[in-house]
Assembly symmetry: D2
Homo-oligomer: 349 residues x 4
Amino acid sequence: MPGNSFGKAFVVTTWGESHGKALGAVIDGCPPRLPLRELDIQEELDRRRPKKSAISTSRREPDKVEILSGVFEGTTTGTPILLIIYNKDADSRAYKAIKDLFRPGHGDITYQKKYGIRDYRGGGRASGRETAARVAAGAVAGIVLDQEGIKARAYTLELAGVRAQHVDFEAVDRNPFFAPDLDAAGRMEEKIKEIKASGNSAGGIVEVRVDGCPPGLGEPVFDKLDADLAKALMSIGAVKAVEIGVGLEAARLLGSECNDEITPEGFLTNRSGGILAGVSNGDEIVVRAAVKPIPSIEIEQKTIDIHSMSTTISVKGRHDVSAIPRIVPVCEAMVRLVIVDHLLRQRTI
Amino acid sequence: MPGNSFGKAFVVTTWGESHGKALGAVIDGCPPRLPLRELDIQEELDRRRPKKSAISTSRREPDKVEILSGVFEGTTTGTPILLIIYNKDADSRAYKAIKDLFRPGHGDITYQKKYGIRDYRGGGRASGRETAARVAAGAVAGIVLDQEGIKARAYTLELAGVRAQHVDFEAVDRNPFFAPDLDAAGRMEEKIKEIKASGNSAGGIVEVRVDGCPPGLGEPVFDKLDADLAKALMSIGAVKAVEIGVGLEAARLLGSECNDEITPEGFLTNRSGGILAGVSNGDEIVVRAAVKPIPSIEIEQKTIDIHSMSTTISVKGRHDVSAIPRIVPVCEAMVRLVIVDHLLRQRTI
Amino acid sequence: MPGNSFGKAFVVTTWGESHGKALGAVIDGCPPRLPLRELDIQEELDRRRPKKSAISTSRREPDKVEILSGVFEGTTTGTPILLIIYNKDADSRAYKAIKDLFRPGHGDITYQKKYGIRDYRGGGRASGRETAARVAAGAVAGIVLDQEGIKARAYTLELAGVRAQHVDFEAVDRNPFFAPDLDAAGRMEEKIKEIKASGNSAGGIVEVRVDGCPPGLGEPVFDKLDADLAKALMSIGAVKAVEIGVGLEAARLLGSECNDEITPEGFLTNRSGGILAGVSNGDEIVVRAAVKPIPSIEIEQKTIDIHSMSTTISVKGRHDVSAIPRIVPVCEAMVRLVIVDHLLRQRTI
Amino acid sequence: MPGNSFGKAFVVTTWGESHGKALGAVIDGCPPRLPLRELDIQEELDRRRPKKSAISTSRREPDKVEILSGVFEGTTTGTPILLIIYNKDADSRAYKAIKDLFRPGHGDITYQKKYGIRDYRGGGRASGRETAARVAAGAVAGIVLDQEGIKARAYTLELAGVRAQHVDFEAVDRNPFFAPDLDAAGRMEEKIKEIKASGNSAGGIVEVRVDGCPPGLGEPVFDKLDADLAKALMSIGAVKAVEIGVGLEAARLLGSECNDEITPEGFLTNRSGGILAGVSNGDEIVVRAAVKPIPSIEIEQKTIDIHSMSTTISVKGRHDVSAIPRIVPVCEAMVRLVIVDHLLRQRTI
C-alpha cells in the first residue's frame, strides 16, 4: 500500500527520482475556474532553488516546471493537473563510488531493506529533490488559498543555533536564509561558513504562520488540523520534531499559563497556535519544524557496505551544509496543502 | 469528508460521545486466526482508567468493553471487530451550567463554529473519553504485534516539570503516573498535589519506545513511518509537539553529532529514533509527545458565551489535574496502530 | 486491506455477523443539524423484514435499531453515527449440521479459502442479514437527500420470470413483492408458490429510479456516478448484473437510437439513464440489478466437505425462495448512499 | 473530492486531456524488482491504436509511451511509476465549430454543468483517449499478474448485433475486431461498413476472462471482487451494463440451474463467473461489458447550445463507428487493475 499521495479533497501525488528523467506531481481535486499559469508555480520553485550562498550545493537545476494537463486557456478545469520538471543537471558519476555503501543518516540502508533494490543515484526517491514537486503543488494550493484570503508564510526561526530575535516578514526574502531578522541572518552566515569549513553540517528550525484561516477547519478525531500539519511537516525528510503554538513548552506550563482567554474581540493570547481540539479557531496558525543537519558530511564516519562489511565514508559530492533555507518553501508548501485540503473538506458539512 | 478513521490496512474508526449512550471502535483489517478475548482489551482499558491518586477525576466509569463482531469462538475471523463500551456514570448536570459558555483551551468554540451545533455534555466527541476507544483498538493491535515480537511501551518522561532520570520499565506500572523512575514518581506526586491545591493544572511529556520493529516499515513519501507517528500522537487532544529520536535537539546538533554511524553489528547510536528517510531501520523506535495542561481549571478565566457576551469561568466539575497519566496508554495505543498498519502494508511489497 | 467501508464523503462502515451478538453501521460524514430519529430508520428496516408471504423465511428478527452516537437532542451533530441492531432470534443449531460442508452458490468455500476460518452460523458475515445495516445507513442518507428534494425508489421489475408491465409507485408498497404492478404481483405469487413447492428458488430484477438528482454529480474518471452505482449494487450478495438506462440493450442499438436528443426543455428521451460521461445530467437516474436465485435449496446438490470429500447437500433451514423482495430496500439504500456521497463531494468543487 | 485514482494497493491515477500536451498515469504501489520495459507497455498500447479498418477514426497518434520514474536499470524500484504519452496529432480545429454546442450522448453538457468550464477540444478529459493511460497502466499490472500465472484476456463477444459463436483465443489478434471467431469477424465487418455508410454508429459486448486467479481475492462487504470489477468496467465511458458469470440471465434461472455443484475436482459448472460472495473461487473469472454506440454520428440530431438555444448537430470530424475494438484492451486493462489490486490486498491477511 503506497504512500505517495497526500490529502483527501485536494490530493497531491508526487513521483520521480533525483537523477531520473523527470519528477513532478499530479493534483487531483483542484477546483475549476481558477487562473493558473506556469509562471505562478515557477516563482515558488525559484525560491527553493539553491542561491549563491555559503550554504548551497553546486548542482544547478533550472527546475523549469510545465503544466501538462488540467488547465485550459489559463484556467483550471477541475481535472487533474500534471506538473512536470525535467531533470537536466543529473551528474550521477559521483554516486557510483557510493552505490555499494550506506551513508549514515540517509535512507540508503532502509530503502535497501524495504525494497531489496534502490536507485542509489542522488538518493533516488529519498532525495530532497523530491520536494520540488511538493513546492510546485503547494504553489497551486496557494492560488486557491489566495482566493479565500488565506496566506501561509514560512521562515527560518533558527539556523545552526542562531535564532531570529523578531519576525519581520519583509526581511524574509531579503536574505539567503529566509530569516525574518536581517541581523540574525548575518550571524547565520558566519556560523554556516565556519561549519562548512570544518566539513560538518547544521540544522535549524522553520516556523510557518497561516494568516486568515477561517474557524472550523480540521476534522475530529484523527484528521485534526494539527495532526495533519504534524504529518505534513514530519513527512519532509530532515524534520525530527513538530510543534503547534507553544509546542514543547506546553509540557512545562500551568493551565492558567497555557489557555488562551476569550473576549468578544477574540483570544487574548495565541498559545494554542490557532487550533483547539484539532479545529482552527480563526486565530493565526503557528507551527514549527525542527530540521536535522544534512547527513552527508566530509568528516569521516563509520559505515558498512551492502555486503555488511565495515568501512568508512567521507561524503564529498554536491551537498548543502543545511537543509535550510531550501526546506523553508517546502514547509510552506506542505502547510498550504493541509489548509487547502481541509478548506475543501469543510465545504461538505 | 470525515476524519474518524485511522490507518489504511488496519483501519480503526471510533465513534461515540462522552455522555452519549456508548462509545467504541470498529477495526477493519485485523488479520484472521488470532486469539482475541475481551479480557485482553479490558486489561489495557483498566490501565487508562483513573486510579485513586492525587491526579484523577472523580468520574468512575467501569469502562467494560464488549466485542460484538469479528470474533468467532475466541478467534478473529478477518471481518470487522466492533468494540463497544457503554457509558454508565454520565452525569451531565454539571455541564448544563456551561452549555452556553466556551471554556478556554477547549474545543467548545471550534466545534460550535465548525458544525453550528455541539453536544456540550462532557465535551461530547472532543472529550478525552473518546480515547478509551483508541486504547481498546490499540489492545487488538498489540495482539498482532505480539505475534511478530514487536512491543510498544509508553511512560511518563516528565510531569509538571519533574523529569524521570532513567528508564526502568519495571517501575512504570508500579506508580500511578506511569513514570519509569520511582523517585521521580514521588516528586511528581508532590508537585501535582501542590498544583491541584492552587486550582491549576499541569502538562508533561510521554515517551513511547517500540522494540523489535523490523526494518523496512514506512512508506515514502508522505506516509513515512515518522510522519504517521506524528499524526497519530498529534491527533490526541492535548498533544502540542511530537519528537522522533533526538527530536527538537536535532536543530542544534552538527551532522557529526546527529548521524548514527553504522557497523556490521548495527548502529552505534540511535539519534534517528529508529527511522531513516521515513522507514524503520530495525533499531528501537523512540517518539515523544508534549502534553499541555488540562484546560479546565478552577482559576477564573475570561471567556464569552454563545451570544459573544463577555463573562468569566471557573471550571469545577470532575477534572483531572493533568492528562497524564491517562494519556500514557493512549499514546501507546496510537503508536501500536501505526506500527501494525505499516506492518500489514509492508506485506504488499 | 479491508473493504467494509463505502463512500468517500458520507462513509458507511458495516460490521456484524448473521448469528453474532449484533450488527450495525458507523456513518462518518453525515452533515450536522439534520433531524434524525430511530423511528425514521426503523421504518426502512421494517420494509426489509420478512413479511408473511409465500416467499419469506421463518426467522423473525425484530430488527430494532438504536442510535448510539452522533445525534444530540434529535439532531445530527456531524460526528459519527453508530447504528446497532442486536440479534435476537439467532438459532444456530441448524447450522451445526453444515459447518463442515460448503453449500453450492454460497461464500462458505471462498471465505474458508480466503481467511482459513469462517463463522459458519447463518453465513456469518456473508449473510444477507448484513444488508440490514446497509438499509439502516441508507435511511440516514435518505434524510439528507430529502432535504435536497432527491428521492430514490426501488421496486421489483421482474420476479421468477414474471415482469411488471408498468410502473405505478403507489402499488409498490401494496404487495409483498414490491412490484409496481398489482397484476404482476399476483402472478409472481403464483409462480413463487410453485417454485417453493418444488424445493427450488428464483431470481429477478430490481429497478431503482432517482428523481430530483441535480446535474453535475459524479467524478471523472474512475468515480463516475454510474461506476459507483454499479459497484454499490454489485456489492449486494446476490446481484450478478447491473444496467444503467438502456443497459445491455445499448449493445444492439444504433447511435441514432441510443442518443438522447436535447432541447431547451430537456432531453427528449432518457436512454442514458440520467448519466452522461459518468456525471448526472439532471434527468431521472435509472439503474437495474439482476438478482440470482437463493442458492440454499432443498433439491439435492453435489458438494464437498472441508476435507474435500464428496457428498451431497439438501438445505432445509429457514430460507427465502428469493432474495426479492427483501433485497429491494437494500438496492434502494445502496443507491442512496452513492447519491448522497456524490452530492457532498460535489460541494468541494 | 476527486475521482481520478483507482485501486487501494496498486493505485493508478490518470491525467490528461484529449487535445492537451500529454496524458498518462502514475502507478503507486507497484511491487519492486519486476522487469519493466517501455516496450512491454508499448505493445499493449499498439493493440488499442486504431487499425486500418472499416471502423476506425482517421486520427493517427503514435501513442509512444515513456517511463519517467520508478524504474531503475530496467527494474521496478517500488516507487511511483510515471507513464507519459505526448499528444502529437491533436488537430483541434474541427472542435471550434462545436465548442458552443452540446453533443447528444456526450459529456459536454454534464461537464459544463459540473465545472462551469470545459476543455471542449476532442472531448477533453471525457475523451476515449484518456483510456490510453489505463491501457498503459494495465500493461504494468499485467507484468505483476504474469509472475503469478494469472492471465486476463478480453475479446469482442458481439458487435453491431453480430455475435461470436465460439471463443478461440488464437483468433482474437488475427482480426481487426478482436473477435474470437473469424467467421463472425467477417460478418462484423460487413455490418459495420453498412452502418458507417448510413452515418450511424454501433455498440457491442466485450467479454473478459481471467485464467489462473487464485481463490480468496476480493474483500467483503463493499469491495467484493465483482463489485470492483463492475465499477472498473462501468468507469469506461461507453459501458452501460456489466455482467458477472451468467449475468442478467441469473434473474430467470432457478436455484438448481444457477448454482455450481462442487466436487473434489472442482466446480461442475461456472455460472458464478468464478466469484462467490464477492471472493474468487479459483475458477475462471468471466465478466462482460455492454458498450453503447459512439454518440458522435453524422445523422442530424436535435441539441442546444451553451445559451440553451435550440439547434441541430451532425458530427463529422474523426470518429470511430464503434468503441469496439479499441475498448477491448481497455476492458482487459481495467480487469487487470482490479485483480492485481486485490492480489496485493490479500497479502495483508
